[in-house]
Subunit: 580 residues, 2 copies
């Protein structure tokens, strides 16, 4: 490709609404152009990256036995009504009526349609297993689309669906996809981690996320550096403490803590470790009647260590707490006689249900609010100052330093961006849609299904979050818009530069290298800045003076300086850098 | 590819709603699966064809300087309101509201968005010409979707848009695309014709359709076998007759024609050539007031030769007839005093405006209706029995045997399916959206635009309409789902068959041939019928008995019989057939 025959369109400034670096850089590098909230044109430079992502995904899906189909973007509502998702999915599902007033949706995913295909196509267990996939435009009407391609409304997703005759072969299909995903993400040249998205309990449903490691990621990932244990913090199990509760050593005492409404502030005032404080979180659960009216409200008090964070998923699994909400300030004042910041389990105005985190249950001499503004209590002990806890549960996010559930060391935490998900669905959809095949026992059986997604347009954004510097993007070779850029300096003034640049360009083309020749005759500063912003990994600069001395300059996008190479060796150098 | 790892799903019966052969065969061959009216899943076998079409289109678009982008499927209404198409397009445009109640559309085409890109990206004439294209899902809410992929609602289209600094370079861009289209359709291996979609008048706007020739096509194409003149019959100009009107030879006479309400019936009864009769078509035009109410209606009588068909586009261009409609029976009876079938220009109850086709204007002694049921008049002559015509115009479709407008012979007519369109748009969109660049005169100028479409998913259907027989599809090599199928007979019973089939399969793979090995171990009859239905062009059948004699059978899909080949020469035979 020659630059003058392409569309290179870089910007000095990022758009005002760009909050994350990938959004800023993709816009500045002319890779995407906003059309509406969460809706982008994929511009030529960005589309090249997307196509490379698609090609790698397609190749590995085919290698793993996937069969490509394309399901419609606009889908009739009927199938979605069969599974109930037409109603359940809420406003994220874009609904349309056609000219005849019939309901349609724009696909956010395609479980319904693919299950409909399966129930028509796969009549016998002999046809199984099968894996159907598509790389297709999706739409989710996010309430707050943002971060460019990271959380768009329209996006491209690869979604695959496996159909198996039983749970055992379904696990094999799952593992096959998992391995394919590892090959795919390896080929992308990204640092990533496959993390458990389920509770990690043995026998739990299989579900793993593929997370691209990036400090700007939205997800916290817990992992064990000594093993392959990794989980989304939302789902990561913390081990029960092994130590016994120490004996009480202090008497209970009310202390004045004016204005110190957080555990951190109280610990600092008292000169105690934060782990000696206990935070009180007040939740509520409502009982509704047939008409959806609240007929009864239960207030709950959760006790967590001051240095721990509540995990909403774990809390929601405590018996009675499904569908909990945070209590209102009037509800809190009604039960505790105090406002948030000074709450505790002692001296309640009205009874509440108390749930104690496992780590709190083994504490002695702890500090909590006194249920009185500007006062806390120190030296609190279970069994003495309040009853032994009845309800003890895992309520908290794991923290760095916790033991890994596999016993192989301490956990560490890093941040990531979810770009893939493998999920064992079981018979959820096949039962809802009565999708069956004739089993080897001669009876109709429901398909065992799995689903497997990769965010094709999100991936370039995640790659940038992981690979950039102050000058711009640094693409891994495999998904760079171009692998090599040839930059002739003073093209219009030097026949030598022109000839040598064309020669190198043609030699690289002949080798099958994805090379662009920047024949725009731009000023050197602007030209090189463009390519650093765009992030092409390999660059060769040719200038008249250098060429007269038989030299050109090579620079990898990660190098801080250019390397002078003899014109005679530049090709072999590039071949070795590109692994050719 | 091995058949057991793919999805082969043939049907004995075509679906009841399939009216055309391509719809029947694509469904029976398992290439498409209906999801809703005009909405299809592209199944694995069909998707392979579509991907090959896309690849050829993309390659030739790139070769012609096109730059690929992708514009969103779901587009905000604002740009469509700028050009007025949001309102104008009517119910064919699928409109959506998002969760915030904002208006969106599903793209039927992308002039607005691409013009918006151009006005932001192309600031100076120095950046021009540019051609942006996409291969993307489109949706048109057809009132009556039918014929499978031929007239679907959701479809894939390649749409390209050229931007030029002036009309001269725009013509070059247009010609470049026209040449690219010829290369594309040549590569598809289809018989096609580039036909004028405009009036053919010199200086008229440039617009050509690419029509795949097929007897089942919806469009009639007029062409001159001795030249490159070709036009859609809708737009094909008929030459003015060169002969003078003969002198009147007959007296006018009223004849009884009971029940003969057509020119054909009257001509037969009277033993006259159909070309001696004149048909009377009654139209009406309404004048509306500001409120859209009809305040005046003008009734028109069109006189055409009995063997000619009215051309609505030409009629609409006659002064005063833009927006015409056919008159109602009461309107006809009001003015003619008779009902349709017996109408004529003589003896009207109320005056009408008469428009005479050029070929009628030179007739003498003609036959028309008597404005009385069951009666016609013979020997009618202008100037004697009725006034000389005031309004004479080209009102008719050309017919086979008419002179070609280029004077190079007689016209012929064949039927075609439109699969591509190149269109010079001028500044229609750039003016509506005020899309300008800085011209070489230093002033803002509107882009000169062209648009160029190819129906990517319609093309396979058109290919089938042109290439099929009673056994199924006959794909041209370039877009066949597989180029070669290797059919081992009795795979499970003969180790020799298994080994030789695998060997040939692997040899073909190594040559880069798109080959499928049918390892399903089906009965020979069913297996071969499947591949004849699917239409793979080259087939090799290996059986145990033949192999023991050192022979296999080759058959091209168009051959009536198989050719016996020595196992040693099958590969070289295939290479020569495939041009390798």
């Amino acid at each position: 490709m020659k630059a003058t025959q392409f569309l290179i369109s870089t910007l000095k400034e990022a758009p005002a609404d760009a909050e994350v670096v990938s959004h800023k850089l993709m816009t500045r590098a002319g890779m995407i152009k906003k059309l509406g909230a969460g809706i982008y044109n994929y511009m030529p430079m960005g589309l090249r990256v997307i196509r490379k992502v698609e090609a790698i995904v397609r190749e590995e899906m085919n290698r793993a036995g996937g069969i490509e189909v394309t399901m419609p973007v606009v889908q009739p509502a009927e199938l979605w009504q069969e599974t109930g998702r037409f109603e359940k999915m809420g406003p994220e599902l874009l609904r349309i009526q056609d000219r005849h007033g019939r309901d349609f949706i724009v696909q956010p995913t395609s479980e319904e349609v693919v299950t409909d295909i399966a129930r028509q196509e796969f009549k016998s267990y002999k046809q199984l297993p099968k894996n159907l996939y598509q790389i297709q435009t999706k739409f989710r009407d996010e309430r707050r689309p943002r971060f460019g391609l990271m959380r768009g409304r329209e996006f491209i997703m690869k979604d695959a669906y496996s159909f198996d005759k039983n749970r055992d072969t379904a696990q094999i299909s799952y593992q096959t996809m998992r391995e394919a995903y590892k090959r795919i993400f390896d080929r992308f040249g990204l640092q990533y981690r496959a993390v458990r998205a389920d509770s990690g309990a043995i026998g739990g449903d299989l579900s793993e996320e593929f997370q691209v490691i990036a400090s700007t990621g939205e997800d916290a990932i817990v992992y064990c550096p000594n093993s392959d244990y990794a989980a989304n913090i939302e789902k990561a199990e913390s081990l029960a403490p092994t130590q016994a509760r120490p004996a009480a050593a202090q008497a209970m005492a009310k202390v004045s803590t004016p204005g110190n409404a957080t555990c951190e502030a109280v610990a600092e005032q008292l000169g105690l470790p934060l782990s000696q404080t206990v935070k009180s979180l007040v939740l509520a659960t409502d009982t509704l009647n047939d008409k959806g009216e609240v007929v009864k409200t239960q207030v709950w008090l959760l006790l967590l260590r001051g240095d721990h964070e509540m995990n909403e998923i774990k809390v929601g699994k405590v018996e009675g707490l499904a569908g909990f909400r945070f209590a209102s300030v009037p509800e809190i004042e009604d039960h505790f006689g105090a406002k948030p910041g000074y709450l505790g389990p002692i001296g309640l105005k009205q009874p509440v249900k108390i749930v104690v985190d496992r780590d709190v249950a083994v504490m002695a001499d702890w500090v909590c609010g006194a249920n009185e503004e500007d006062f806390h209590i120190t030296g609190v002990n279970f069994g003495r100052d309040l009853p032994e806890p009845e309800l003890v549960a895992d309520l908290r996010n794991v923290v760095a330093g916790d033991q890994s559930p596999d016993g192989l060391g301490e956990l560490a935490i890093e941040r990531g961006i979810e770009i893939g998900h493998v999920f064992y669905l079981g018979t959820k959809y096949s039962q809802a849609m009565n999708a069956t095949f004739l089993g080897d026992n001669g009876k109709p059986q429901h398909f065992e299904m799995g689903c497997y997604g990769i965010g094709v347009t999100r991936l370039p954004a995640a790659a940038i979050e992981q690979n950039h510097d102050e000058r711009g993007i640094i693409w891994p070779d495999a998904i760079a818009p171009f692998t090599v850029v040839v930059c002739p300096i003073g093209l219009g003034r030097s026949e030598l530069v022109k000839t040598e640049a064309e020669k190198l360009y043609n030699e690289l083309l002949a080798l099958g290298v994805d090379v662009i020749l920047d024949d725009r005759d731009e000023r050197p500063g602007a030209m090189l800045a463009d390519w650093e912003l765009i992030g092409v990994p390999h660059r060769v600069v040719l200038g008249d003076r250098g060429l007269k001395e038989g030299q050109v300059e090579y620079q990898h996008r990660r190098d801080t300086e250019a390397t002078k190479l003899a014109t005679t060796e530049v090709l072999s150098h590039l071949k070795s850098r590109l692994g050719l």
